[in-house]
Each structure stands twice: as C-alpha cells, then as structure tokens.
C-alpha cells in the first residue's frame, strides 16, 4: 500500500509534478533505513540531496565597516570640489574684472600723461622760440634806432 503510493509519487517526481509536501514524503521514505528492494536504486538521489543541504560556507563574511562611508566620501569630494571651484571661479572673475578696469584706467592715465607731456614740451619749445623772437625784436630795435 505504502509502496504503491511511493511508486506513484516517484513517477510524478520524475515528471516534475510533485508538490513540496509530496517530495517531503519521498525524502522521508528514502532517508530512513528500510527501503523496499525494488526502489533501492533511488535512495542515493534523496540521500545526495540531503547531503548537498549540509554544506556550509566556512569563510567569514568580510564587510567594510560602515555602509554610508562610501556615500559620505562621495559627498565630501563633491563639496570640496564645489568650494574650490567657487573660490577659484570667484577669484578669477573678480580678479579679471578689476584688472580690466584697472588696465583701462591705467592706459587712459598713461595716454593722458603722454598727451600732457607732449603739450608741455611743445609749450616749452614754444616759449624758447618766443625768447628768440624777443631777442630778435630787441636786436632789431637796436639796429633801427
């Protein structure tokens, strides 16, 4: 009676049609000591599955200390890049704006200075010439007197 049932279950088992409960019945039957002679060739299959379940991992699980560490490092680096970027950017921007203005002012200053110098030089030269004119007038007056 039991044997017939086991045979039926075995057939279903090999067709992949047994439920977990039915497979437990088969496992229990084949892992006990007394298995019918006609079915003894199937015993190693169920024994093997049991043995396979006894295997355990023996290596210790190695995990880095804390999970958020990676994320934090990422955030820090982004923050650092942002700060440096902002610093450099603003420095560069402000610097260039000032120098540009300064350069323009300096150039204008230089230009106007040059212009003034030129003017004053010419003015001086003019007065020098004027003294000749004055001398000429004096000499002319002396001659024609």
């Amino acid at each position: 009676m039991e044997l017939d049932n086991i045979k039926k279950l075995l057939d279903a088992y090999f067709e992949g049609m047994t439920s977990l409960e039915e497979e437990k019945i088969l496992r229990d039957y084949f892992t006990q000591q007394t298995v019918a002679d006609a079915l003894v060739q199937y015993k190693p299959i169920f024994l093997g599955m049991e043995v396979a379940k006894q295997e355990h991992s023996h290596k210790a699980l190695l995990l880095p200390d804390s999970k958020p560490k990676v994320n934090k490092a990422w955030r820090y680096s982004v923050a650092a890049i942002l700060v440096v970027g902002l610093g450099v950017g603003s420095f560069y921007l402000s610097q260039s704006r000032y120098t540009q203005e300064e350069m323009e002012a300096l150039a204008a200053f230089e230009q106007s200075k040059n212009a003034m110098m030129l003017l004053s030089e010419n003015l001086n030269r003019g007065t020098e010439q004027l003294s000749y004119v004055k001398q000429f007038a004096i000499t002319k007056d002396r001659i024609f007197e």
């Binding site: 090999f14 497979e23 190693p44 299959i45 043995v51 699980l61 995990l63 880095p64 999970k67």
Partner: protein
Amino acid sequence: MDKTEFIAIVMPFRDKLYRLARRILVSKDEAEDAVQEVLLKLWNGKMNIENLKNPEAFAITMTKNYCLDRLKSKQASNLKIVHSNYHTSENVEKQIESNDSVALVFRIMDSLPEQQKIVLQLRDVEQFEFSEIAKMLDSNETAVRVALSRARKTVRDAMIKNYNYGIG
C-alpha cells in the same frame, strides 16, 4: 542600516547562496568568493536590502547571475579549467561522503547543463516553490518543471545504470 542588521538579514540564507554558487562553479573556493562578492554588492549597493520584498530571492538571483558570468569569462579565458575543476570536485565530494553512489549523484549533478543544475539545486536541495524559482530565474513555472524533470531523469537514469552494473 548598520553592519549587524545587514548580517542578521543575510545570514539565514547565506549558505543557500554558497551551495548554489558551489553547484554552478563547482570549486569550493570560487563559491566562497562568489558569495562574498554578491553580499558585498548588496551591502554597497544603492538599493537598500531592507526595502526589498524578498531579499533572499533577490540575493539568489544575483548569485546565479554572478556565477554564470564567472563561468562564461572563465570558459572564454581558460579552456583547461574544465579538467582541473573535475579533480577538485571529486576530492571535495570524497570528503563529504564515502558513499559511492551518492558521490555519483553529485558527479551527475555537476555534469548537468547550468539551467537544470540550478533548478535541481533550488528545488530538491533548497525546497523552494515553483513560483519562487520561476521568479528567481526570470522564467515561468512550466519551464522550471520541464528543466527539473529533465535533470531528475538524468540523475535517475545514471543511478539505474549504475545499479544494474553493480548487480550484473
């Protein structure tokens, strides 16, 4: 989530991951490495394991994919590996059990196509429901049943052959 919480979630099914990796990769050391790698990925990953509906099934899928990838790159880079693997697996099995016919079951299991190997492992060793296995393997129940039936029959035929040879 801290380390202890993560380990508390992962520990109950860690050996299942190891056994699956072992079945696919055969080598014990490689299976250990694979489990370590998968759990590290889970730990460092963006997705939080706490938010997963079924962390076990998710980890099993990850392990399966990781091991199959390992196998692919191994076969691509080294053809000799098949031969050397055979020796290590034989040695390891000798340590596990002295029963010759049980050792034969293991050898047959190792020789099955990957998909059948995985299905047999998940059903007959870990006893998952067909619906769970189908989800883990991104397949359907019918395909799982078919693969399982083929795997079981291959093992059965080898056992019958071995048994008859023993008698005769």
